[in-house]
Symmetry: C2
Subunit: 266 residues, 2 copies
């Protein structure tokens, strides 16, 4: 993952580092994160080019064909006229969530060019948009509306503070949205509320912090748990990975029970 | 208000029209609506121009100096580099809400150019951003972050289906955010739950539908109530205006009691 340092104002806090290897540190790739954000909602903001070359930001709805967004916009709106005149666009999607700090939200920018579907893509694009935006059935057949497919050739993902990377168009196209993260909220809360000791044991055994005194789960995805760990040396962040990737949220309980057993045996 | 017709696919529903004058039809102006949307949140999507001229959509936070958004972005992010190279931008803001139909949401596009504040504006812009985005205190002083003021010269407002207009930069600058609409949700619910008969009486007397059989309030602003009215002729939409504009939500109760009394006397 690409990282860059801020210019240090001189008072940046320091965090304790792991004192043992993190057993299974795998996280979702930037391409997987981006596909997960793309699949998480049906609203976005489009950047298009107005007639005078000025960039124009406008709210839109979208569906998905694979990872390519499908828009349905009116030629009576400025963005509709922009797309017809210049196909260069990008789309910003913000994952829904209730972060009190807005910059902690996951978001992506998908850049590329729009094209009008042809052949069998005409029906497929229409169906993809309607599946994501049921209300579009009231206007999609008005003569001023056009369906556009955004052919993605550049992907930027930001997962929150200090978590960001680009993905290639090929990796983005091939990636699969995370089956766990978007639906894991209640399970994460349950882990923290009812299994705090197990989280601490897992973090001590597999998260690189044998001196963990407590651990809280801040997120779950197909590969593991994001952990905030407290030690006598301070608070830090790490991962506890499952023994194998999960296919669905249904597998999370068994995976964490297995981890807890292994941790207590270790 | 500018209106445009969709190309009619032949099966558009028809709505009953008022059979009496709407007594006080005043609605917020497009400039007032846009200022209200701008003041309703602290997150937006920026459209900037990348080095190759491609439009770049990215999630940002903002505060306000008057109606001008104040951004704080890192030069390590593509949008930060874009602003430094070309000041032409626009910003899309979507009013928070829980519409099941995303295109029913109010939103604006503010287009203009960004500039770095100078003189007394340096402290004012910093304070405006921090007031809206408290978490920015953790990074606003990093050397890679820059505060930018978006000098707005073009304003487009969309209030939902069929409600949209442009505002001049001067009207937008002079307008005041609505003191009622963003906080009126519980009051509107109370009107519908406990005062349905009063709403029907007001709508029959002042909303242009003497044949109203029921009426529901869908929104309140400083000038009046948005009403969905049912008549034997079908369902339509109208306004019931207060006798004078409200300064705050605290005035809503007295204003609607006055309207109800007048309606029952009429």
């Amino acid at each position: 993952m690409a990282t860059l340092d801020h210019g240090d104002p001189g008072d940046a806090p320091s965090m304790p580092t792991p004192t043992a290897p993190v057993t299974r540190p795998r996280r979702p790739s930037a391409a997987e994160e981006a596909r997960t954000v793309a699949a998480s909602t049906n609203t976005a903001t489009l950047a298009s080019l107005s007639a005078d070359g000025h960039p124009w930001a406008s709210y839109v709805t979208y569906g998905l064909m694979g990872g390519n967004p499908v828009l349905c916009v009116s030629h009576m709106a400025e963005h509709g006229r922009n797309l017809a005149a210049d196909p260069r666009v990008s789309l910003s999607v913000v994952a829904p969530g209730e972060n009190s700090d807005p910059l902690a939200s996951g978001r992506i920018t998908l850049a590329g060019t729009v094209l009008r579907p042809s052949g069998s893509d005409i029906d497929a694009a229409r169906a993809a948009h309607l599946a994501a935006v049921p209300a579009a059935r009231y206007y999609i057949d008005y003569s001023d509306f056009t369906v556009w497919i955004l052919s993605v050739d550049r992907v930027r993902w930001v997962g929150g503070y200090g978590r960001m990377d680009s993905a290639t168009a090929a990796d983005y196209a091939a990636a699969v949205p995370d089956p766990v993260r978007p639906v894991s909220g209640p399970a994460v809360e349950h882990l923290n509320t009812d299994h705090a000791d197990a989280l601490t044991a897992m973090t001590a055994a597999f998260g690189g912090f044998p001196d963990a005194t407590s651990a809280a789960c801040t997120g779950a995805d197909r590969y593991g748990l994001d952990i905030t760990v407290t030690t006598p040396r301070g608070v830090s962040y790490t991962r506890v990975g499952y023994l194998s990737p999960l296919a669905s949220l249904d597998d999370l309980r068994a995976a964490t029970i297995e981890l807890t057993r292994n941790a207590r045996r270790s």
